[in-house]
Amino acid sequence: MEREHKIIQRVYEAKEDNRKADDLIRDYIPFIRSEASKCIGRVCTEQDDAYSIAMIAFHEAILGYAKGRGAFLPYAAVIIRSRIIDFLRKEARHQGDISLYEESGEDGQSILDRLADQQDHFEQTALRDATRQEIQELSAVMAEFGVSFSDVADHSPKQERTLAACGAAVRYAAENQDLLEELLRTKKLPLARLAAGSGAERKTLERHRKYVLAMLLIQTNGYEIIRGHLKRVLNRKGGMAG
């Protein structure tokens, strides 16, 4: 009983703190692996998709748990089982189909990548290292604003309309570098100017403040690879809605 109370306390702390959530997940890896093994009927290794799905299902269980739902571990076990079963059913439906995006071989390249260009493996590794470096730099700058990628993911727009509104604000800032300079100098998001210049509603931007901040920081110097990944957003014309 006391052990259960301790878990519940840790779960509630993990809801608020991503680092504590990571610690809780690490401590319960044996339990998660055991539940995944029960579902697939054999020993589950870290290379199995079921393992990854069980890990994220455990994280979902942390976020979705409430005291009224009974003991935490049985609840988490149910979530893990249902997620893995859903995945296995989906996989069974697509069995025999080969996706162009499907990764094949040891290098993890998709068929499309192999067909499209025969890039040098070393070039790929160098690109990945450069991307990682950019991301780490961006993460460090974001940390100065007290924001992590997990926070941004939690506040990322879900609806197309909201995404378009935020995208318009980001494009407006990209075209007006003084806004980005002001952001870096004052460490404050110029929401009023963004709203007035892009036509997006200030309330929408405020609701997704962390997301807008991350996207504006990406528009500052030094993140060319990430900006290249987001070229669809930056090249989009119009389509803004409040």
Binding site: A66, A130, I135, F149
Partner: protein, 275 residues
């Protein structure tokens, strides 16, 4: 769609898609900076329904409480007994089980005049009667040497019996020193009193009635001989009661020239003979 892996955690990875969405997805041994084409996105946890469940329970409880309160209120307001008070004005006073007046109505025009503008709500029967008698005195309906007739109507005989005495005594006390009036009390019950006398099955029930032992019935020609009920049924028409003819039909259903009105006196006389 291509996804750029931005952050890796034991439970999930944060990826950035080409549309600019940051997503949490299953970490399939990803590394930061890696570009992937297929992800298993994290499902948004469903909010706990506890608060709503409490709300439903609370609503159901409130509804039950309302029904109970309404039922109790209706029972409290339901007339249990009526008191007809007749001076010259006649009024009907309805009371509940606690003798609180729940209705007041003038039976005749003078009664309507007496009750007009009088507020009986939340008052006891004694108080309402006192105040109505006082109003009757003031309006000139009740005078010295007058008469107050009370008729009690209730399904409960015990209530009638107890209130016959108490109401009369109370009114007498209330009128003492003001004027002298005669107070008559008549009790009524909704169901007539029925007395059941057990009879042994082997014994004939002839001659037994609520009025006691009936005298033996004899024909003038057979006077002095023994007779019982069965003989009487099989014999010719010994009963000259006008209610029953030879075919068993009563005059109520087929009135004829020798009908009910004419035979009523005869029936009364027969009834007295049976006694």
């Amino acid at each position: 769609m291509k996804y750029l892996v931005m952050e890796c955690h034991p439970g999930y990875a944060v990826v950035l898609d080409e549309e600019g969405r940051f997503l949490k997805a299953a970490n399939r041994q990803y590394q930061v900076g890696q570009t992937v084409t297929e992800i298993i996105e994290m499902e948004a946890p469903q909010p706990a329904k506890n608060s709503k469940r409490w709300l439903y329970s609370l609503t159901a409880l409130a509804a039950c409480l309302m029904v109970m309160v309404t039922a109790v209120f209706q029972v409290a307001q339901a007339p249990f007994a009526s008191v007809y008070m007749s001076i010259n004005p006649e009024v009907r006073i309805d009371v509940n089980r606690r003798d609180v007046v729940v209705g007041l109505e003038g039976v005749n025009p003078d009664g309507q005049d007496l009750t007009q503008g009088y507020d009986f709500r939340q008052k006891d029967l004694d108080l309402v009667m006192d105040e109505l008698v006082d109003r009757a005195i003031d309006m000139g309906y009740l005078y010295d040497g007058g008469q107050i007739s009370l008729t009690l109507d209730a399904g409960d005989q015990e209530w009638v019996v107890t209130h016959s005495e108490t109401l009369s005594a109370h009114l007498s006390q209330h009128l003492s020193g003001k004027l002298s009036a005669t107070i008559l009390v008549n009790g009524q019950t909704a169901q007539p009193t029925q007395v059941v006398i057990p009879v042994a099955p082997e014994e004939s029930d002839y001659g037994m009635s609520d009025y006691g032992q009936a005298p033996p019935v004899t024909r003038p020609s057979e006077e002095g001989e023994d007779s019982d009920y069965e003989d009487r049924e099989e014999s010719d028409d010994l009963d000259d009661s006008p209610y029953e003819e030879e075919d068993g039909q009563t005059d109520y259903e087929e009135p004829d020239d020798s009908g009910y009105e004419e035979d009523e006196d005869d029936r009364d006389s027969d009834y007295e003979e049976d006694d």
